[in-house]
Symmetry: C2
Subunit: 209 residues, 2 copies
DNA sequence: GTCTATAAGGTGATAGAC
DNA sequence: GTCTATCACCTTATAGAC
């Protein structure tokens, strides 16, 4: 289980995700990736069978990590605490990868949709968002949850023009995301006679960063 | 100024934006567009000089409409009312075009970035978001404003899985967007001693749809 | 305005030497 | 593991007839 490999595979992945995020998947040619690594195109084919396989390999552990969050959330009571923890965990997962990865996911959705691994990703995000609200929650509620996930993972490149550190931007995304899931009503209807309403008043500090 | 043309140009645009949004710009070939219209590739080149020109033409009046909102907002006092009106107007602009257009903008950002018209678009959105907060607003505040614009224009395809009409989804996006710009603090610091604080307590009805 | 025919170029991918 | 050389394919775009 040691690093017995030369690490070329990982270098290919790192360069690829960077170029895919910046210029898009289709416009990034294997020639371009190879040139950046000072190898030839053919060398890439020793490590990956196809161009698409590079993308698939990129998202393998992201998907696994999201699945872990989903599994955890499914076993928890649907409380405010749980929703906040889902946001925090997803924020950690997003932060623990190259920034360009979430950027690729967010800014090349049309491409990823064609790639089948994109469908898998999309399904996970859908399910993850589903853990943040009741199944029959109203549209605005469901939208709020999807946007909370976006906020906690996409802040650094949504605030690209802003002069601040990535840390500050991630913190801002987390702050907003927590606010979004906290103002959410738990059930499908207005939260006025539900027993869950006991959780609805103990928050409102930001816990940013 | 009448419709003296055969309308082929408009048909090309309509088909193109649909395919670009669904499969992405690069993966949509001119052959594919032509086939859908039962013409040949060469016919497209009578109406547009290049493939990129089709995209440019697509966004011409969207950009013009956004500019109008920016111009209007610039002349207004930076009040809550103004911010809400910006959201409403942008929501109208987004609704008044094919749904696939905003989808293309949101889901093919990497591609559009390479297309130069994408840079123009992006600059407009940046400026429009800037009208929703003070120049030195904290990161979370700026993020909230960007996300409000996203919410009001992207709800129908962000809620793709949801079983509801587009009208309901647009309404949900508007509701959330208004909430986001309403909970925003006006200045760069906490709103406690600013004179603008008089506007900060007359809202909190949703005015959805 | 639309067609047929074709040019020019880049792409993903493979074969086989080292 | 990486190379050279090559392939088949598809693309955008153009020329010129009708």
């Amino acid at each position: 289980m040691g690093e017995r490999r030369s690490g070329t595979r990982e270098k290919i992945q790192a360069v690829a995700v960077e170029l895919f995020a910046e210029h898009g998947y289709e416009k990034t040619s294997l020639r371009e990736i190879a040139e950046r690594l000072d190898v030839t195109k053919a060398a890439l084919y020793y490590h990956f069978n196809t161009k698409e396989d590079i993308v698939v390999s990129l998202f393998d552990d992201l998907i696994a990590n999201v699945d872990e969050i989903i599994d955890w959330a499914t076993d928890q009571p649907r409380t405010l605490e749980t929703r906040q923890e889902v946001i925090r965990r997803y924020g950690c997962v997003a932060r623990n990868r190259p920034k360009s990865m979430m950027r690729f996911v967010q800014e090349s959705k049309a491409t990823l949709r064609e790639l089948a691994v994109g469908e898998r990703l999309q399904a996970r995000f859908q399910t993850l968002a589903g853990t943040l609200h009741m199944p029959d929650a109203p549209p605005a509620e469901q939208l709020r949850c999807s946007i909370a996930l976006l906020s906690v993972s996409a802040a650094p490149f949504m605030l690209k023009e802003l002069d601040a550190t990535d840390d500050e931007k991630y913190a801002a995304g987390l702050e907003l995301a927590l606010e979004l899931v906290s103002s959410a009503c738990v059930g499908g209807r207005e939260p006025q006679s539900k027993p869950q309403s006991k959780e609805r008043s103990k928050e409102r500090q930001s816990t940013a960063s």
